[in-house]
Amino acid sequence: MQKAPNGLAPSLLVLLTSTLIMPLARASGPDSLYARMGGTSNVTAVVSDVIDEAASDPHLKRAFDKVNLGRLKRLFVEQICQLTGGGCRYSGDSMHDVHAGLGITQAEFYGLVQVLKDSMERHGIAIRERNELLAILAPMKRDIVER
């Protein structure tokens, strides 16, 4: 990992250590992480808030300019659902393709992670599940951050 902005190092540590419990997250059915996060209704609410907040945040909105936010939300939910045992199939493009050329910075990446963490907490997702999801999403950083 390269240098992270001040104050983000602890959360990075959480991301790394929580990869140890990933196998549990991959379970499907009622024990799946998807179900434990509240299923489609709660994940949709979390994602909707994340996208709306990011798209209006002065530090993050750049990458969302003129983007069809409804479609983005639908695909993000679909992706989380697939990755957390919810039984969906993600129909979007690869993380590399959808971010290529946007010039996403480390600061923007961690900024969005923070918005996601806050939204999950606000929607009643427990710390264990929050960390499990972040651990699943963390490896995408290499396909998303360009500079």
């Binding site: 003129k66 983007v67 069809n68 479609r71 983005l72 493009d93 393709d97 290529a100 050329g101």
Partner: protein
Amino acid sequence: MPNLKTTALPHSCARYGVALFAALAWTTTLAANLKVAVVDLHGRPLAEAVVYAIPADDSAAAAPVGLPRVVIDQIHRTFVPLVTVIRTGTEVRFPNSDNILHSIYSFSPAKVFTAKLYSGKATSPVIFDKPGMVVLGCNIHDQMVAWVVVVDTPYFGKTGADGAVELKELPVGNYQLRTWYPAPAFEPRVDPIHVAADGAELRISLDSAGSPLPTLLGTGTAAP
């Protein structure tokens, strides 16, 4: 046709006689230019209006040769140009100067297609093989819109900022002049015209109400 005002349409008997004689003598070479001014109902020039002339006698139109290479670019998440007019069979390339992913599509009957424009990868051109109106969009950036008007005639053009367009080298004769403007539910307007040996000029008034054009053009030019 209350809004059609034609000037310099030489169809008096004397001049028609001269034109007819000339046409008999040089049927294949006699051609003239057609100048069209497109304005709104207040007389203000309308840019991005498409004008094309369909010969009354179909056989008068030459077969397409050497169709130009046409480009519709993606710049600041906007299609450039907004309106394109091409002859049937023309290939259009989408070079994607944005260099981010665009996912473009058309559901228009004249050309149904989807194409992913990846960052840094060239995409195959799209051949518009049927005449008609094609509306382009982008799945990822839902404000993006562009029109491709595919025509079955070599005599076409698009008005500039001054609302003017000149169609060149039309064989002398009768035409259906069609004028189209990117406004909601705008059907091409049809005016029968005659092009004489010394050319013709027309002024066409259109109801441009509801056109998203000023906004879209503004968005395209204001982006950083």
